[in-house]
Symmetry: C2
Subunit: 361 residues, 2 copies
DNA sequence: CTGAAAGCGCTTACAG
DNA sequence: CTGAAAGCGCTTACAG
C-alpha cells in the first residue's frame, strides 16, 4: 500500500506564518500590523465593507493570504449580532435520520446553508428537552440565529414559543395555520387534485383513500381534496372509503385490507405517502389483486425507492430537497430582517409510472 | 380543534426579569449585583468551581433562577478554551442522511453529545470543501472542538490533516491503520469469524462471498477472515467464489448472479452488508432458488429492515447506535485531554433468523 | 473563599 | 476613506 507522503511543502495555511511569534495564532492585529493599516480596516475588508479602497483591500487580502489568517468566528459572533448557525429541529421518531423523507429535506437545508456561510446544528425535540425549554435556550444562549422545524404536528405546541419570543423559526413542509407559523411547504392540495383528476380520467369511480394522521395539516388537506372531488363527481363514497394508514408500510397494508374487505370492487387506492402505498401494494399482492390491472395505486412524496418497486409507483413528486433549500434561504432572510413573514408553497406534480392504469371493465 | 391556551402564567424564563432595565437581557453582572457578589463568583458558580461555599452557590443560584439568567455561550467560548460543539463529517454519497446505517450512528452521536452538553454540527465533505481546506477551518475559526468522521475510505487522505494539526478527530466505525487514525469501531473480524463457524456447523462447504469495496478496511477484514477460515478448512475455494457487490442491493444482486453462473452448486452466500444480502436474496428468488432450503444467506449490519424481509435475514449485529455513543464519549475525552489515543472495538454478534439452514444433501 | 482587573479577538460607532 | 477606542459577556490568573 503506498504510504502517503509525510509532508507537502505546506503553505502557511495552518494559521502560523513564518514571521509570527511562535506558538501564537495570527490574529487581526497581526494582519493589521503587517498590512500597515488599523484593525478596523482589516475588519472592514473581512466584512466586504464598501468604504474600503480596492487598493487597501488588496493589500490586506495579500497579508491575510500570506499569513493564512482566519477570523475567529467566536469573536466575530460576540461583537456582531449573528452566530451564522441554524438549528434543524427534528421530532423524536425512531430512525428519523434514516428516513429518506427527512434525509432529502435536511440535505437541501445543509447544502444551501453551507453555500450561504451558515452551519447547521442538529437537535432532537425530546419531551424533556422541550419541557426544560432547551428550544429557547438555543437562542437565549446564542447557539443559533434561527431554527428550521421538520416533521412536527398539532401536538407540538412548543412551536409557538419561538414566535412569542421573537426568534426566527420556519416550519419545513408542514404548516400550522392555527398558530400562524412561518413555513415553506409543498402544494399538497394541488398534488391531491392532480391525482383525483387523473384517476377520474382513467375511469375510476370506486376509489379508496389511505391517509395519514389528522394532526398533520397536510394530511388533512389531502383528505379534504379527496372528499371534495369525490363529492363533486357525485360518486357517493362515504367515510367507509377512507382508512388511516398511520404513514407507515404496515399501516398502509392493514388499511388496504380493511378497505378491500368492505369494498371488494375497489379499483383504485390513493395513499397519502409512498410508504403506505408500498404497504397497499404488498397487501394487494397477498390478496391476489394485480396492480395496476385490477387496482391502481397512487402514492405521495416520490421517494427514491418508489421508482424501484414492481410495478414502479405512480406518485406525487414533492420537491423535498428544494423545499429544504428554500427554507434555508427564507430563514436567513428572516434572520436578516429582509422579510418578516414567510408562507411559501412549492409546486408538486404527478409522476406517472406503472402502478396506475385504466379502470377495469 | 382545541385552541391552545394563549398564555401560561409565564415564569421569567424568557430572560427578562421584571426588575431588569427593559429591553436589556440579563447578564452576569446583573446576577452579581442582585446576589451581592462579584461577577467572578457568579462565573465560578456557573462552572461548578468547588471553591465556592454552598451558601454563596445557593444565593447565586436563586438569583439566576429568578432572573432566568442564561449565560451567553459565545462569550463563554471566547474566554474559555472550548466551544462545546462537535462536527459530524459525512462523505458526499447521495442520500447519506437517508441511510439507516448513518442514521443509527448519528443518532447515537447526537444523543450522547446532547447528554454531555455538546451540540452537533453537520458537515458534508464535498470535494471542493476539502480542497478549500474547510475541514481545517472548522477548527481554525473555532467552530468546533472535535470532529467525528463517518463513512470514509482509503481515498480520503484529508483525514490525516486533523492529526497533523493536532485537532481531535475520531473515525467512527471505519479504521485507517495505515494513517494511525483514532477510531471507535465494531469487531468486523469477530463477526465474520462467527459467521464462518456457524456456516461450517450447518455443513456448508460451497460458500460464496459478496464483499464491499476494498478501499474500506473493514471490508478487507471480512474478506480476509473468509479466506482464512476457508483455507483452514481446506475447502479449496479460490477467488472465483468472491464477488464485489459494491455495498448496494443492485450490486449484491449482480454479484449473486455471477457467483451462481460459475458455481451452481453453491449452498451458502455471505454478504458484507445487509443491503447486498437483500440483493442476493432477490436474485436467488429470480433464479428459482429457495432461501434457506437451497441456499443460506447471511448479511452484515443488522439494519432494522433486515428483520422484516422474507425470510428474515440472518446477519451480524453491529451496535451502530452504541458505536456512535462511544465515539462521542471518547471524542470528548480526547478534547479534554483525558486520553491521547483512542482505538476502541465494540463486540458484534450473530443474529440468527430465517435465511440460514443446514446445507442441502 | 471572594473581588478587581485584564483579556479573549473581533465589530462598530465616532472622529477626523 | 481610515484610525483610536469602547464594548460584546464572559473566564482566569492574581491579590487579598
Amino acid at each position: 500500500m503506498p504510504k502517503p507522503t509525510a509532508q507537502a511543502p505546506a503553505p502557511a495555511s495552518n494559521g502560523r506564518p513564518a514571521d509570527a511569534k511562535p506558538g501564537k495564532r495570527v490574529g487581526i492585529r497581526d494582519v493589521a500590523r503587517l498590512a500597515e493599516v488599523s484593525v478596523a480596516t482589516v475588519s472592514m475588508v473581512l466584512n466586504h465593507n464598501p468604504k474600503i479602497t480596492a487598493a487597501t483591500r488588496e493589500k490586506v487580502r495579500r497579508v491575510m493570504e500570506q499569513t493564512g489568517y482566519q477570523p475567529n468566528r467566536i469573536a466575530q459572533s460576540l461583537s456582531s449580532k449573528y452566530t451564522r448557525m441554524l438549528a434543524v429541529i427534528l421530532p423524536t421518531v425512531r430512525h428519523v435520520l434514516a428516513d429518506p423523507y427527512f434525509g432529502e429535506l435536511i440535505s437541501g437545508i445543509c447544502d444551501r446553508a453551507e453555500r450561504r456561510g451558515h452551519k447547521v446544528v442538529l437537535e432532537h425535540a425530546k419531551p424533556d428537552w422541550v419541557r426544560d425549554r432547551r428550544h429557547l435556550e438555543l437562542f437565549d444562549r446564542r447557539f443559533v440565529d434561527g431554527a428550521l422545524c421538520v416533521g412536527f404536528n398539532d401536538h407540538h405546541g412548543f412551536l409557538q414559543d419561538f414566535g412569542k419570543n421573537g426568534w426566527p423559526m420556519l416550519s419545513v413542509n408542514s404548516e400550522f395555520p392555527q398558530w400562524g407559523i412561518d413555513h415553506v411547504v409543498s402544494d399538497y392540495a394541488g398534488g391531491a387534485d392532480q391525482v383525483m383528476t387523473y384517476l377520474f380520467q382513467l375511469g375510476h369511480r370506486k376509489i379508496g383513500m389511505v391517509h395519514g394522521a389528522f394532526e398533520i395539516a397536510t394530511a388533512r388537506v389531502v383528505c379534504e381534496v379527496f372528499g371534495q372531488r369525490v363529492d363533486e363527481a357525485g360518486l357517493g363514497l362515504d367515510n367507509t372509503w377512507l382508512e388511516d394508514g398511520l404513514f407507515t408500510e404496515v399501516g398502509g397494508r392493514d388499511a388496504c385490507e380493511r378497505l378491500l374487505a368492505r369494498h371488494p370492487d375497489i379499483t383504485a387506492i390513493f395513499a397519502g405517502n409512498d410508504k403506505m402505498a408500498l404497504g397497499v401494494m404488498h397487501q394487494l399482492a397477498l390478496m391476489g389483486k394485480r396492480v395496476p390491472d385490477d387496482v391502481s395505486v397512487v402514492g405521495y412524496d416520490d421517494l427514491q425507492h418508489a421508482a424501484f418497486v414492481n410495478p414502479a409507483l405512480s406518485t406525487v413528486h414533492v420537491p423535498l430537497y428544494e423545499v429544504g433549500v428554500r427554507a434555508a434561504d427564507r430563514l436567513i432572510e428572516l434572520i436578516r430582517k429582509r422579510t418578516d413573514s414567510v408562507s411559501e408553497v412549492l409546486p408538486t406534480h404527478l409522476k406517472l409510472r406503472g402502478s396506475t392504469a385504466i379502470a377495469p371493465r
